[in-house]
Amino acid sequence: MSDLEKHDDADDHDEHLPAPIEEPIPNPGLPAHTWRPTDVDEGLAKRAERQVSLMFTLSAVCTVIFVTSYFVFDIGDNWETVGGLGASNIALGVSLGLALMLIGVGVIQWARKLMADHEMVEMRHPARSSDEDRAATVEALNAGFDESALRERPLIRRSLVLATGVLLAPVVVLLRDLGPTPGQVANAAEGKGLKNTLWKKNVRVVRDVIGTPIRPGDLQIGDLVNAVPDGIFDLEGVELQVAKAKAAVIVVKMEPDEIKPGKGREDWSLDGVICYSKICSHVGCPISLYERTTHHVLCPCHQSTFDLADSAKVVFGPAGRPLPQLPLTVDDDGYLVAQSDFTEPVGPSYWSRSK
């Protein structure tokens, strides 16, 4: 207590601040320790002991249940045979959870009821080191610096800075092969790079997944078809994914007189059939929610909305540009084909997309 009182009104103001106003109420000091029921009544203490050990025992029982469940409950084909739910997962989770929690609650009950609950007082020390220590450290540093002779030999100092400085170069250079540059990848003939896709003159528009070609007459007003360029399914793995991520389109049919063709795009649609990139011009999600009466298509990721009757102009949301349009025509067999590749890069914007 005396230790406490000494520090009660200890002045923690530094000398730079105005003298503190006297505290309105003096520190009454640490209140006297009060005994807990378990401290004074051995019966209650015994009861607490039994509670704690009961929890520990139940925990062990739960662990046994866990191990049993591991072997008893089926997973795989029969994962939902018990009660139509993942019995294995539930049994394992609940038994493990209880086994752990009972240990935790038991230990805390033990700490609260039976461990000594005398509060202790420890004095704090300033985080800073003492002035003597600081001085000694500075002295040591200076001595070390002096003895290293770096001061008198600037040639060593400077060349060392140079040598370690240029060591950063390997760190950067070594990362160079993380990937090719966009320029190295670009290849219009193979549809590679940011500005090219698999679409080319006379490439048929085929349905996604099944790959069948489309005649304009197959479509009814209001239809939306997810499509890809013919031949894309010859690719597989990464190449297929990369190709799809750029070449995916949506083909929609609306009343021909509802279409307001963009400048120079008068012959890009056919009989009310019009085709746009499916990849959002915002950050690249595939757009998919089509409202046939308004011809609006909405991206489910960030709700950019495009008007397909009006060159896929942005009517709402964070996208900055319309969806690129794919110029359509029909081939000799009457199937929809592209007139050319997209006339602008598809997908998210990037610094040099207009270059």
Partner: protein
Amino acid sequence: MSIDTSKVADSNSTSAATPAKPSKVGAVATWADDRLGLGTAMKKNLRKVFPDHWSFMLGEIALWSFVVLLLSGVFLTLWYVPSMGEVEYQGSYDPLRGVQMSEAYASTLKLSFDVRGGLLMRQMHHWAAMLFVASMMVHLLRVWFTGAFRKPREINWVIGSVLLLMGTLEGFTGYSLPDDLLSGTGIRAADGFLKATPVVGSYMSFFLFGGEFPGDAIIPRLYTIHVLLIPGLLLGLIAAHMLLLVYHKHTQWPGPGRTNDNVVGYPMLPVYAAKAGGFFFIVFGVAAFMGGLLSINPVWKFGPYDPTKVTAGSQPDWYMGWPDGLLRIMPGWESEIFGYTISWNVMVPILITPLVMWGLLTMLPFIDGWITKDKRDHHLLYRPRDAPTRTAVMVALMTFYGLAWAAGGNDIIAVKLHLSINQITYFMRVMVFLGPVIAFMITKRWCISLQRHDRDKLLHGYETGIIMRSPEGGYSERHLPISETEAYRLTARDRDEVFVATPQVDENGVAAPGGKLDGVRAKLSTLMFADNIQKPTRAELEEAHHHAEHEHALTAALDGHAADGHQFDGHHAVEGETLRGSH
């Protein structure tokens, strides 16, 4: 019987040395200490004192859920295959059998359906990640609201803030690993974010993905980042965070005997070790319980990633929600300068604002320190009301966060509440700016009202709820003095000092540089402190008590009388009690 002299010390001591019965533990301890000298290091720390309060447990939740993450994560790596190589799924989950997918997705399905306990570990891991990030955030709020960020703990605040950033990135890389449709959509968007970076955007994207999106490199790379790079950083930072906590000693609430110079509480051994250790088991158990009962990220329902597919309601994990919300409500601004495209619509909400907000959060203690110029060490906490401006600043930031987060669910809100998504978006565009201002003003006034209430309690006592009628017919409420302990607790806080810009010399006797900056500081200091209600001085308190005594004298006739009101509260016997009694 002869005396065994082998145990007698060969000194001239008066009593024979009797060594303790050699125990195995003792032998091991001796062996270790001979080599490590642990005794000296542990001597002080084994009984190190930690103060007790429920709010000190929040950071502990983060610590323990990190341990759960490490344990469950190691289990997952035993089956998970970080590869985008394509395979045909032939596992137990019937709806996807025969479907082409990446090995990453197939192995995640295997973990979920064909490894016993695999789904439990996956779900525990994901739930523990939620707990980890959430508890870090709540812990951060606690530290700010109670003033535990002040000198000497600013560096620990910075470490904590880096931990929060790292934890968020760790979460993003983690939930991207299953390579399902939802997480792939997240990576697709991340590719868009990278590409929006001026000048180098498309290069960053090509370097990260090893070529064109999606490529086959991103999953293995995210895996390395997720299981090696970031966990390593997290471990190091957590260790530093804990070491500083031990070095500074924990903050405590002021109270009788609890001052800025001491720390009062239970010793680490045994009480605190038991409580903290027990709490580890509880956090672990809760994570197991959640993993067993609450489904999370059911990747089998989403299917493998396909860049042409998406699902409505695509959303990142909740802690990534607020930048996503900003992205949704940002107008579609994009400009071309000299033929180069600048995507403000992506850059502002994703690349700039989160970094600025994080930077601001990290710098808060330093901004605060610059305004207050408080160089003292602070080890006592305050209640949020006693720092109205600080509290209001954080509530404003929370409001911004909450609104941006809600905007990230604008589609869900529109569907569930039958609202127009367009109107929600327009509303949010205004409210992310207006909301924080309103929240600031309300919070600040609210805090000051509470301070006023505290001051009233100190000066005039607490409201008893007993209404008195004077002979003249006027009504008044009876106040009784609060206990000494509570009165002390209410006054155990600093007086706020408003910084006044003076063109002369400052307290150090040095000419103040940058008079203009001082003016700004003075204005901010006024904004921060001028309206606060200060605790009464001793003179004010005495004056008030004197006044109260006078009042009591007037009503003294009522003491012990039926009209003192105590018979109504049911707690007291009326006999022998006076109104100025020992409350």
